[in-house]
Symmetry: C2
Subunit: 228 residues, 2 copies
C-alpha cells in the first residue's frame, strides 16, 4: 500500500489514461460517431475485450471524455479569468467568453460532445453535472465581484417572471438580485449559441471577421447582465 496501492493499481490508472488518450485522439480526428472501441484497442495493441476491463461500454468511455472536456473547458475559462484579474469586469467577462470560443474552435469535436447533440443512447449522468457547471461559475463570479460596489440596476422584471427569477437566483447565487441571475442564465445560453454557431459552421458564409464580431457580441452580453 506504500505509494499508491501497489503496481497493480498504478498500471490500471496508466492504462485507463492511455485508453482515454487514444480515444481523445480518435475523437479529435473523426468525431464521436466514429469513435470505435476496437480501434482504440488496436492502437494500444490490446484485444478489444481487454478494454472492457476498464470501461464497461463505449458510452461509458464517451462519458469519461465528456467529463474531461468539461474540465478542460472550465480550466480554460478559469485561466482566462485569472489572467484578466486586473482589468475591469466587462473586459474580464469578454476575456472569458473569448476563452470559451477559443477552446471550442480548438476542440470542435469535444465541443460538439458537450454542447452538441447528446450522443449516447441519451443519458446525462449526474456525474457530468458538476463538471458542466464550471464555466457558469466563472461567469457568476465575475458578476458577483463587479456587484461589490453599487450595482447598476438591471432592467426590471415583468411580473410573470418574478417567481421564476427568485427561484433561479436562490439556486444559483443567493447573493445576486433575481434580475441579475435570470439575465446571467440567458447570457450563458446565448454565449454558447454564438460559439456553437461558429464552431459548427453556421456563420460560414455570413460572418467573415468572426473574431471581431464575437468580441462585440460578448461585450453586449456583458452589458445585458449589468456589467459596465
Amino acid at each position: 500500500m506504500s505509494t499508491a496501492q501497489g503496481a497493480r493499481a498504478r498500471a490500471r490508472q496508466e492504462i485507463t489514461a492511455a485508453i482515454k488518450e487514444a480515444a481523445r485522439r480518435q475523437l479529435a480526428a473523426q468525431g464521436a460517431a466514429k469513435l470505435s472501441l476496437r480501434a482504440v484497442a488496436r492502437e494500444l495493441d490490446m484485444v478489444s475485450s481487454a478494454v472492457y476491463r476498464y470501461f464497461p461500454s463505449r458510452d461509458e468511455l464517451l462519458t469519461a471524455l465528456i467529463i474531461d472536456a468539461y474540465d478542460s473547458l472550465g480550466e480554460a475559462a478559469e485561466r482566462a479569468r485569472d489572467a484578466a484579474s486586473d482589468v475591469p469586469p466587462p473586459a474580464r467577462w469578454v476575456a472569458v467568453c473569448e476563452a470559451v470560443r477559443g477552446w471550442g474552435l480548438a476542440h470542435p469535436h469535444e465541443y460538439a460532445l458537450i454542447y452538441g447533440s447528446p450522443v449516447p443512447g441519451y443519458s446525462a449522468p449526474q456525474t457530468t453535472v458538476r463538471a458542466a457547471a464550471r464555466v457558469g461559475l466563472v461567469l457568476i463570479g465575475i458578476l458577483r465581484d463587479a456587484r461589490q460596489g453599487p450595482g447598476p440596476a438591471a432592467p426590471p422584471l415583468p411580473a410573470d417572471l418574478v417567481p421564476e427569477a427568485a427561484r433561479v437566483a436562490a439556486d444559483l447565487a443567493p447573493d445576486l438580485p433575481p434580475e441579475a441571475a435570470v439575465a446571467l442564465v440567458a447570457a450563458w445560453a446565448q454565449l454558447f449559441g454564438l460559439v456553437g454557431f461558429e464552431v459548427f459552421g453556421q456563420f460560414n458564409n455570413v460572418v467573415a471577421d468572426r473574431e471581431t464580431f464575437f468580441r462585440h457580441a460578448a461585450a453586449r452580453l456583458a452589458e445585458g447582465v449589468g456589467l459596465r
Copy 2:
C-alpha cells in the same frame, strides 16, 4: 409525360417518401446515431440493398432528413409570423422565437440533427444552405417591416466592427443599416443558444418555468435588434 412520368416514377416517389417517413420515425425514436438503413428496410419489408436504389448511402438519407427538418422548422416560423401579422413587431418577433422553441421541443432529435453536432462524416452539402436560411429570413423580414417607419437607432458600432458590419449587411439585407444587420446575426445565434440549451437539457436543474423565462429572453433579444 402526362401526369407524372408514368406509374414507375410515381412508385419511386412513393417509396422514397416511405423510406424517409420510416427513417424519420426511427430518428424521432432513437436519434440520428442509431438510424439504421437495415432497420428502415426491415420496417418496409424490403431487403437492405433495395434501399440503396433510392438513397446512395446512409448519409444521403440523413441529408434528406436534414433538409426536411430545416423546411419543417422554417414553415413553423413562417406560420407563427403570419399568425402574428397584426401584432406589433416586437410581439411578432417573440412569437417566431416561441415557434422555433416549440418546434425544437417537439422534435428534439431533428433539432439535434440540424443545430447539434454535424452528424455524418462531416459534410454540409450546399443543398442544405438554402433550407437553413429560412428562419433567418423570417427574422430579417420582421426587422425590415418594423424599420419602415423611423428607425430607432441601434447602439453605435465600435470602429473595428464597422467594416465587418458593412459586409454582413451587404450580403444579408442591403436595406438594413449595418448595426442592425450585425445585431440581428448575433440575436439569431443567441436564439438558438437559448433553444438548444433547453432542448438538450442544459437548463434541467437551473430553470423551472422555462416557458416564461424564454419569452422574457426572446423579448430582450428583440430589444437588442432595435425592435421596440
